[in-house]
């Protein structure tokens, strides 16, 4: 036996069925917002009450949203004290990457204590799914996703690729090139 639950829909009373009072209430609510925001905007224009926001809008390119501390953003490669990459080219990140967007070419490290170093380290951001597995997998804390760079855009697939230099210096945020 299937038990059914009858959901009682709210019945409108006569006052609500008259429609006009409810319309009036609705317009009153929205115009309350209108006049509150209008006054606030007017005050902002003359430099008063800047602390109270008149709108929830974030004016994007000029004004950026404050990201949560743990949000995963564009990758970077961390450096040793001498400035060389910490990466030892163990290929863990390349192996774990579900999108297969990491391409590492390894070479021998001059320091005999370190086995390998990356000759090239490319990430194709066009493929990356920002899962953060590479960061989890790295045994050397060599790759992190904490640059807070989110505005990644380009006009071609080639421009979406990052090389080792760009990954080591996240301040070189790639500018979107002019339309080809």
């Amino acid at each position: 036996m299937i038990r059914t639950k009858t959901v009682k829909r709210p019945e409108l009373n006569l006052w609500e069925k008259l429609y006009f009072p409810e319309v009036f209430r609705g317009v009153l609510l929205t115009s309350k917002h209108f006049f509150k925001n209008l006054t606030l905007h007017a005050f902002h224009a003359i430099g008063l009450f800047r602390k109270i926001a008149a709108a929830v809008t974030i004016q994007y390119p000029e004004q950026l949203w404050k990201l949560p501390g743990r949000s995963r953003t564009r990758h970077r490669l961390t450096k040793r004290e001498d400035g060389s990459p910490r990466c030892v080219a163990c290929m863990m990140c390349e192996t774990v990457c579900p999108a297969r967007c990491i391409y590492i070419v390894a070479e021998e490290h001059p320091d005999p204590n370190i086995e390998k170093r990356p000759k090239s380290f490319d990430i194709d951001l066009g493929k990356c799914v920002y899962c953060g597995f590479c960061v989890e997998a790295c045994p050397e804390d060599a790759i992190r996703m904490d640059t807070k760079i989110l505005d990644i855009a380009a006009y071609s697939r080639e421009e979406m690729k990052l090389d080792m230099n760009e990954l080591l210096n996240p301040t070189i945020a790639k500018a979107i090139s002019a339309k080809p």
């Binding site: 006009f20 925001n37 709108a55």
Partner: protein
């Protein structure tokens, strides 16, 4: 000859203001909706000159920040877009339809009085483009002609959705024409004239010596019904079943570029038309409370003499303010309410508004018969 020149100047002034107000409605629509929803609204269409014209930039800055150039950007977009006529549609009617809509929306403004008579250089000028003694009938006749543009747009597009939209529009407009015609009957009965200038003058009297005898004081139900039916005439939300931009698509699906812009413009013109009609019929037109041709005369005895020109300017300002208030109100209603379903819309028109308006006319007639003049 001078008479013709005066009429031409009046007509040009009214057209200028109406066109600009309609264009500003796009700005109002964006900004008012934004403020009502705690947003900022469109503010990215900037006009910025090179550095050597810096003072000009400084002057333009507030316009830029307020987004006042968006109407211009809209116009540029509309005019430069491809003007597409469906290959199997009727070319002539397809072009004619938006012109008809715009034309009939515009000619109605001729009969709206926006001020009392003024005297300039020995000429007595009636601040009304055409002083028609059946102005109210004229306006409703012209407004109901507007449905032709809509229906033709639907038929000439050779698109089933457009035809359905046109049919929805025609039945809605016909239904609400009847309601709107009946709601103003009470006003006509009380003030005893179809001439809008006379109607406004008649609203200059006072009840009990202090309450302005404006339309909404003597016809509150008529006023509410007029506003409700008037918004239906403008085909805007909550009565936008003919258009239904986002999902049920209406009669102007097959229109692009400035022809679509003309339909869009017609909506705004009709909103202004209904706003000015509501002002004229129910809010005393250009009347300012306690302002006579000689100046203010308050019911408690105080008086304040004013020059005739100042009085005229105050009256015109009063008319403009009232129209702007109604435009604001219609915009607030448009951004507050959801759309009526089509059957609800017709039911509201025929089952509630029409009988209520009829009852209003009967009750007004009874009261008029009982109350001695």
């Amino acid at each position: 000859m001078t008479h013709l020149v005066i009429q031409a100047v009046l007509a040009a002034t009214v057209l200028f203001f109406v066109f600009n107000l309609a264009a500003l409605h796009t700005w109002m629509e964006r900004k008012q909706s934004a403020l009502m929803q705690d947003r900022i609204g469109a503010n990215r269409a900037w006009i910025v000159f090179p550095r050597w014209l810096a003072p000009l930039n400084w002057l333009l800055r507030s316009f830029n920040v307020l987004g006042l150039f968006h109407p211009i950007a809209d116009a540029i977009k509309m005019f430069t877009k491809e003007d597409y006529i469906p290959p199997k549609g009727d070319k002539f009617l397809h072009t004619l339809a938006p012109c008809l809509s715009l034309f009939f929306a515009l000619v109605g403004f001729a009969a709206i009085p926006f001020g009392n008579t003024i005297e300039v250089g020995g000429h007595v000028i009636n601040l009304q483009v055409a002083n028609i003694n059946v102005a109210l009938l004229y306006i409703f006749a012209v407004a109901s002609m507007g449905v032709y543009g809509v229906v033709l747009a639907g038929f000439s597009s050779n698109n089933n959705y457009a035809v359905l939209g046109g049919l929805r529009a025609s039945s809605q407009m016909l239904s609400y024409e009847i309601a709107i015609g009946l709601t103003v009957m009470g006003i006509v009965m009380i003030y005893g004239s179809l001439n809008l200038q006379e109607l406004v003058r008649a609203q200059g009297h006072y009840l009990f010596g202090w309450l302005p005898l404006w339309g909404f004081v003597v016809q509150p139900i008529g006023f509410l019904l007029f506003i409700a039916a008037g918004i239906a005439e403008t085909k805007r939300i909550p009565y936008d079943a003919p258009e239904g931009e986002s999902e049920i698509i209406g009669y102007f699906v097959e229109y692009s570029g400035m022809k679509f812009g003309m339909f869009y413009f017609t909506d705004y013109l009709e909103t202004i038309m209904i706003a000015s009609l509501a002002t004229t019929l129910f809010f005393g037109g250009w009347q300012v409370p306690y302002l006579t041709q000689a100046g203010f005369q308050f019911p408690w005895g105080a008086a304040f003499a004013l020059a005739p020109l100042t009085v005229s300017i105050l009256q015109i300002l009063s008319f403009v303010m009232k129209v702007l208030f109604f435009c604001w109100l219609f915009m607030a209603i448009r951004w507050t309410l959801p759309r009526f379903r089509y059957d609800q819309l017709l039911k509201l028109g025929w089952h509630y508004m029409f009988p209520l308006a009829l009852a209003n006319v009967f009750i007004t007639a009874l009261i008029l018969l009982m109350v001695p003049k």
